[in-house]
Structures are given as C-alpha cells and as structure tokens.
Amino acid sequence: MATITEEPAAATGVEADKARSHWARAWARFRANKLAFASLIFCALLIVTALAAPWIAPYHFSETDPDARLAPLLTDGHLLGTDLLGRDIFSRLIYGLRTALFVAFGAELASLVVAILIGLSAGYIGGRVDQGLMGITDVMYAFPSYLFAIVLVTVMGRSLWAVMLAIGISSWVTQARLVRAQVLTVKEREYVEAARSMGASGMTISIRYILPNAIGPLLVTTSFAIPAAIGAEAGLALLGLGVQPPTPSWGSMISEGTSYILAAPHLLFLPATLFALTLLAFTWVGDGIRDAFDTSGEDR
C-alpha cells in the first residue's frame, strides 16, 4: 500500500523537535523556578540530615550532661547549648527533625495509598460502591480531627505510630475526595472510551490510563499536606498529645522553651526558627510543583 506523500520539512505539523514527556516538561518548569528549586535542595538536605541523625548528632537525644544545664550558645562541646536537663540542643533539634519528617511522610504516604484505593474505586466503579465509600468519607470529614487525635492518643498511648495515624486519618479524606473528582473528570475523557473500544479491561483503564493523568493534582496537594502534617505534629506535641518524651519533637521543645524565655531564649528561638524555615521550604516546593503542573495556556 502506498503511503501518503511525505510532507515538506517546514510544515510537518510537529511543534518542537524534541520529544518531551509530561514529567520532563513539569521538571523543566520546576527547575526554572529558582525559589522552588532552592527550597527543594534545602528540603533534601533536611531529609538526609533526618535519615543520618545518629551519625550527625554528637549526642543521643536523651543523653544528659549534668555539668552543663541551660548552657548558652557556643558552649564548648554544645554548639547550640543545652536545655534544663543538660541535653544537647543541636542533637535534639536533629532528632526532632527526624520525628517531624517521619510522622509527616509516614502519615501522608499512608493516607495517599488509602485515598487512591478509595477514591479510585469510588470514582471508577461508581453507583452503590461510590455512595458507600463517599458516605464513610463524609462522616470522617465531619469529625473534628483534633478530637480524633485525642481519642487515638488516649487509647494507643503517645507513640510515634499513634501520632502518625492521628494525622493521617484527617488527611486521607480530602485526598480521597480529590482522587474521586479527578477520576470522574478523566473517566469522561475520550481516550478512556478509546481504550475501552480497543478492548482494555477496567483494571488496565484505571491503573494505566486514569491514575497517571489524575496524579498531578494529587502530587500538588500531597506536597502541601507535608508541611501541614509537620505543623500538626508540632501542634499535637505542644498540646501534650505528641510523641512520648524523651523522644524530641519541635512542638514540645517550643513549649518547654517558652518557660525559660528570659533565662535561655535560644531554647525557644532555635526550634521555632527551624520549624518555620522547614514549613516555608516545603510550602515553596509545593508551590513550585503546583506551577509546574499548571499547564493552563500551554496545552491545547
């Protein structure tokens, strides 16, 4: 069979000479955003620090130095000083970072998995399944999340897992609703019908076609949920509902610091500053991701 006449090179109907995937394009846009990229490097450093805490921190977080209580900044052996019990602030900040990130990433990852499972089933299957699942979601949504956390921590004790669960539970609900809404939008796209007409099964359609196209907005909300979870962890600790001492948390460090604000202001300012910087950096990364996926005005 003859082929259609080859088109002249100047009018091939192809926009650019380079093949670029959706992800490559989003990454290029993210790279171009200086603030977001710098924030990403900062966040990466934080994550590495948290992972390598036992090797970076000079002391264990519960190790006390009875000779140096409430030591000021730049004390020999205690760069950032010590607290009332003589524990090294620098080490406790690093371990506090570890707690914060562990709880935040754990909670958001778990809630993402739950949200995708529930949102995808509700959106793709529809009908009764949708009504049932969304009913549960709505009930959860209406439940005040701090109340839930108090109940959980009371029942499970002040463990890392309880805190993670308490935060994750209030987070998956919004995510699941978003996944469902995305699935409903993508499901109506012609390429899903095209896939059905090619003989694709329901499972293939939802995982290979719908999910990758719904994931952009999900990634954006997740990137904003991380700093929110870091905040929530500190908030719970501030209320005395966080992880069990002596495991350090920035929340409990801030709360302790307020008591010695005149005698040792660094006890408050150091964790508070680090907390604020971390939240800001993660939020800016989120902003960058959102803008990177925002294709308005570029896509046909």
Binding site: M1, A2, T3, I4, T5, E6, E7, T12, G13, V14, E15, A16, A19, R20, S21, H22, R189, E190, Y191, E193, A194, A195, R196, S197, M198, G199, A200, S201, T204, Y209, P212, N213, D299, R300
Partner: protein, 311 residues
C-alpha cells in the same frame, strides 16, 4: 495524493431487515432501542432502528445534534448495551458475548473519534499510543510492537522521526493520523469513524479523508462514517442513513439519496446546505417539524427506504 471517488454500490438491498443475506452483513442492527435514564426523566436516544452494514461498504450516518447517531456508533461497537433489540457483529449477537470474548471481538472493530487529541493517551508517545492495542491484546513483544507501530505511522503519513514525540506536540491533522494508525494496529474488519474530520481545519480535513479513502480500498475495510457534514458523507459513503430524533427516516444508496431525497427531513437538510460553487443559492426550505412517531419505514425503490410521516 489520490482523489476521493465514489465506489460502486455494494450488492444486495434492504436496510437490514430480515431480507438481508446474513453472510453479506458485518453488522446487523435489529429493532434497537436505547433509553437513558436521567434525573430529568428518560431520554429515548435511539428508537426502533434497524439497519445493516455490509462487508466492504461504507455506510454514512447523518443527522443533527441529538439525532442519536453517536449513540448508534456506541451500540454498534458494543460499548453500550441496547435497551431493546439486538446488535450482531459478524453473525454474533453482542448481548450474548462473554466479557473475555468481547475483548477479542473488539480487536475486529476499532474506532476513530472526533477529537484526536482527546482520544490519544497524553502521557504516552505516539508510537506507544499506536502500539497500545497490540499490548492490550498481547500481540508480539515490546520490540516487535514498536516496529509495527512505526510501520503503521509511516503508512498514515506520520514521519517516524517523530515516533517518540507526545501527542500534544502534533497538529490536529497529524494527531488524527496517529489515531487512525492506532485503530488499524489490530487489523480490524470495521472502522467506526465518529465525525473524524469535523474538528480539523478545511485543508487538513481533505487530507484525512484522502487517507481514509486510500486505506479502506487498500485494506478492504468496512466503514461506518458518522458525520453532520453532508458533503463529506456524499463523497465518502456507499449508502447513507439519515437519522432524526433517534429514528432512521431514510436509507438509500448515496446517489439516490442526494439526487432524489424522499423524506421531508432529508429534503430540509439538503436544502439547508450552502453551496461553495453552485448556483443558484437554495431557496429557504419549508420548515418541517421533526416528529417521533411509530410510522413504518417503507421501501419506495430497490434499496431506498423512507419512513412515513404525517405531513
């Protein structure tokens, strides 16, 4: 590039009623109804449609928005089940086909959609898009599928140099070529074209039509060609069915339908077309109020069926 010409009409007659020899028809639609239940009440999208698509022919399906022609396409493709009546493909009643067999049957009927960009997977390169049906039906390995995809892209006139580009990087006409290549990957018997050119620029429409014309002749395809553009259907179809309010009001071989339309709705449609070169300009047609009745389809000449109407 080849000119599009009208091919001689296929043999046989009848709109797909019982007189049609069973082996001559690829698709049989028998007294099919489709009702959608919505909050605002039931919508009768298709009512009592019977027609057939013969092997190797191109059946044009024309009608205005809301006439039920796109619903007909999906019923014929087995993408939705009729509320009443039967649809057969290659002699098999689609309502009796089990899930797994249905998937195999789908390989023999492929669809080309109105909006090419919307129907291609945005996160796959065009060669992956074309290879996707082969992957779904487990044909060959990854390398042979890609090889085949590139052959198909070449066949429809897409430069294989751009095989790894993504659909959004192509113009509308090129995207539609990719969609056609994908539809041909499984070597289907039937190509269902749902307004394949109406989202494209005029000069590109002609290219895609010429391509489809070349392909159907070369591959011996059976086509169902759905369009609201009467000129395109006239040029492209062997037989034409006119739909209005979910019913077929007239079926005839193309030349007969366009030269001597019998149903007032067909006459009204043809009178509304604004010519580009012919004179005189058509006089405004006497408006005919579409009606959904239960009046029968009658054979007025061999192969020419017209629905009775009250006016």
């Amino acid at each position: 590039m080849a000119d599009v010409t009208v091919r001689p009409d296929g043999a046989g007659s009848g709109p797909g009623t019982d007189t049609e020899p069973v082996d001559g028809r690829l698709i049989g639609v028998d007294h099919v109804d489709k009702v959608f239940s919505t909050r605002a009440g039931d919508v009768h999208a298709v009512r009592d449609v019977s027609l057939s698509v013969r092997r190797g022919e191109t059946l044009g399906l024309v009608g205005e928005s809301g006439s039920g022609k796109s619903t007909m396409a999906r019923l014929m493709m087995g993408l939705m089940a009729p509320t009443d009546g039967t649809v057969t493909f290659d002699g098999v009643d689609l309502s009796t086909v089990r899930h797994g067999d249905m998937r195999r049957l789908r390989a023999q009927m492929q669809m080309v959609f109105q909006n090419p960009y919307g129907s291609l997977l945005p996160h796959y390169s065009v060669s992956a898009n074309v290879a996707e049906p082969l992957r779904l039906h487990k044909r060959g390995d990854k390398r042979s599928r890609r090889q085949r995809a590139i052959e198909l892209l070449t066949m429809v006139g897409v430069n294989p140099r751009f095989a790894d580009h993504y659909p959004r990087q192509f113009s509308g006409g090129q995207q539609q070529r990719v969609a056609i290549a994908r539809a041909l990957a499984l070597e289907p018997k039937l190509l269902m074209c749902d307004e394949p050119t109406s989202s494209l620029d005029v000069s590109i429409q002609a290219q895609v039509l010429a391509l489809l014309d070349e392909l159907r002749a070369g591959l011996g395809l059976t086509l169902v060609f759905i369009s609201h553009n009467l000129a395109v259907v006239e040029r492209f179809a062997d037989r034409v069915a006119v739909m209005c309010l979910g019913q077929v009001v007239e079926i005839a071989p193309t030349e007969i339908l366009f030269d001597s339309p019998r149903h007032p709705y067909t006459q009204q449609l043809l009178a509304a077309v604004l010519p580009v070169s012919k004179d005189p300009l058509p006089a405004p047609a006497t408006p005919w109020q579409p009606e959904a009745g239960d009046l029968p389809l009658r054979e007025v000449a061999p192969g020419h069926y017209v629905r009775d109407c009250t006016t």
